[in-house]
Symmetry: C2
Subunit: 429 residues, 2 copies
């Protein structure tokens, strides 16, 4: 038991969990299967394999203006006073291939997006032309080769890698996949996560708490964060701080989900119950008990029946920090591995973290040997962002509501000095 | 017709659309109805009405440690050598109200999160105490009133406004609503948006394009962006650049959706067809044709049968910029109004834009009289973010893929100077 209370660093704790999980999993299994879904519903999903373009985009040179396709050298020296005279032999039709090729002295009428005829190398805007009777057009400006044309493959070249496995699909990516002909796309199945609140004092939001009781907050905030990360959370309910109640809910979580999240039970007695249950459901059971991070220190990381289990603190803010630091890391690892990447890649949506650099507004002190996560508010001063620490107890909902993001003070630092640059992590939810 | 080509500023264009829509709507109708949904599925939804706390949170003073509840003045002057001796008369049970009140000279055993007995005003950590036989505890440190206690209502006070109508619900907000007893929550219905691609050259992603044809990109990128905004997009299909084909698809969009989005048809001929169809389906039909913004200039804003219709350019990047500038603005306006806010509030998810301040990496020139949206990449240099413009034609997919966000150069500016501070808008997708 004593060993459990030897507090680990965040990095150490993650490494212990991942390496034990890798061992338990073996080398063959894909943690999360691939599934093929309609492109229109793939927003935010994780691409299962690399996408290589099978064609040039655009597939042919296209005009970017309404006007005339020409051979550039036929227009050299042209001015309004002394225009080039070209014979219009065809009008290019949208969506169709020009029937003829263009020869010197000729012009083709062409709409924006129209395909350039063979032999043409530039387009002239209709505003710089004048149509005469008898199929002759006057060109009042010289064009250089490539003017007002998007070249074949200028956007995406055939056989080039376009999107990497593990990419979280953005609206833009959906457009790229459509262009390449993917009506359906293969993505990594969402990790299913069981969410359990624990504590004799906790009642569901639909019930009226008696004196000494409090409603379940964490099932909802943690599920929301998990959904925002791209996981598929299910709220399993509230476990009492007894061995049987907790064991029964955790067991049902292990039987149907990829990951189990507990929160609450901040007292020593409740902790002891959780440790005992997770050890019984192992091996290996509890791997880490206590991490050198504030808030979030009393976190439990365990592996039961091959599945990661996270015991998070009961305070709403601390539990969200713990979820973010450990569960999201593990989920990303599982997703990245399922997409064929052995290392950690941006796997789930929130992994695309936004860091901004701001100046710090006030000195922040920290105990060496502990990683401090300090909530900050971003304020603009003299054209720069300044990160002001939001003061308040870590368990308070209002601390989180008033902050824009967090700064991290590393393990072996005694704090940060006012006015220096600091990275602020903005949550994606 | 000429009037349509008088190019408007972004602000003017938005104002014209919103004021015409307000007129057509009348004063009584709620643009989007409210619906009650389960709290667990409310992430990212828009709160329909203000939430006022009906109770104090916490509802009673709670201990933040495992230890003893005491009367602070009973511990004054206590040291390890000369501890205060208190009689332990009760152990507080989690989730239950203490049976007795605490009198001077007494202590109550209390777990983290336990309810303070009446009469107690502080808690002492178990680490600073020693239990003797016979129900006596030695307190080795003095406590001040309030030590290790969260006071009643310290987090949220009864009758205080907690969340405002129009708020996009975050994981944290779900936790707050749970704490207040909302098992279900009333939200604004998602706006339903019809997405139509137009152009004789466009084929669906599942088909092989013939020479001169190209696959439909915008239906997918625009739907993805709309879903990321919190709207509910439906892809209606591809209209040919003929009057009948376009009129039939737009009509079916108007009959079942709140907003219709067209994209494509960048040639003058295709534009003329779109303008004619939208005018027929009015009144008022086309309101704005051309906006002083790059990319995105040839945008059409229309109102048909009381519903906003947006004609966006065919280039993928330009269409996303147009969607963001005009359709999202209108959708936010509708959502905010439905939540009871007459002004523009953050309505949909992406309205919570992230702006970061960066230095600019290179001079950017702009034509006065035009609002330029320049794609930039954020790079860190000397501890500061620098925004480097990404060069490339606006129609290219690759321009967007390589950028992190955009800077806006206002209408009456000739550009921005290297090294000065600039706001960079980061997309939420």
């Amino acid at each position: 038991m004593d060993d459990f209370f030897r507090v680990k660093s965040v990095e150490e704790a993650r490494r212990i969990l991942v390496s034990n999980w890798e061992c338990a999993k073996g080398t063959l299994a894909l943690p999360l299967a691939h599934e093929e879904i309609a492109l229109a519903s793939a927003l935010g999903r994780v691409l299962a394999s690399d996408v290589v373009s099978s064609l040039d985009i655009p597939p042919h040179p296209r005009s970017t203006v309404d006007g005339y396709a020409v051979l550039a050298r036929d227009t050299h020296g042209a001015t309004d006073a002394l225009p080039a005279m070209l014979q219009v032999v065809e009008d290019v039709v949208m969506g169709a291939m020009p029937k003829k090729a263009l020869c010197t002295g000729q012009a083709f009428g062409i709409p924006t997006g129209g395909m350039l005829p063979l032999g043409a190398d530039a387009c002239v805007m209709v505003e710089h032309t004048e149509m005469l009777d008898g199929g002759t057009v006057l060109i009042g400006r010289p064009a250089a080769a490539g003017d007002n044309v998007v070249q074949q493959g200028e956007d995406i070249k055939a056989n080039s890698g376009v999107l990497a496995a593990g990419k979280v699909l953005t609206p833009f990516d959906l457009g790229v996949l459509a262009a390449l002909g993917y009506a359906r796309v293969s993505v990594v199945r969402k990790p299913k996560v069981a969410v359990i609140s624990t504590g004799d004092e906790i009642v569901p939001p639909g019930e009226s708490p008696q004196m000494g009781q409090i409603r379940d907050i964490n099932s909802y905030s943690l599920s929301g964060a998990l959904a925002a990360f791209g996981a598929e959370p299910s709220i399993l309910g509230i476990a009492k701080d007894t061995h049987d109640s907790l064991r029964s809910l955790v067991s049902s979580g292990l039987s149907s989900y990829d990951v189990v999240i507990l929160s609450g039970g901040s007292s020593v007695g409740a902790h002891d119950v959780a440790v005992k249950v997770l050890d019984e459901l192992g091996p290996p059971g509890v791997l880490v008990h206590g991490v050198a991070v504030k808030p979030g220190k009393p976190v439990i990381l365990a592996l039961c029946q091959g599945k990661p289990v996270f015991g998070l603190p009961g305070h709403p803010v601390s539990s969200l920090v713990g979820l973010d630091l450990f569960a999201r890391y593990m989920l990303n690892y599982m997703v990245a591995l399922s997409a064929g990447n052995a290392g950690i890649l941006p796997g789930l949506a929130a992994a695309q973290e936004t860091y901004v650099t701001a100046r710090r507004g006030r000195n922040v002190s920290s105990a060496p040997g502990r990683e401090d996560h300090v909530r900050v508010k971003l304020v603009e001063k003299d054209g720069y962002l300044v990160a002001e620490p939001v003061l308040g107890k870590s368990g308070l909902l209002s601390t989180m509501a008033r902050s824009d993001g967090e700064i991290v003070i590393p393990l072996y630092s005694e704090g940060l000095i006012e006015g220096s640059a600091v990275k602020v992590r903005l949550p994606r939810f």
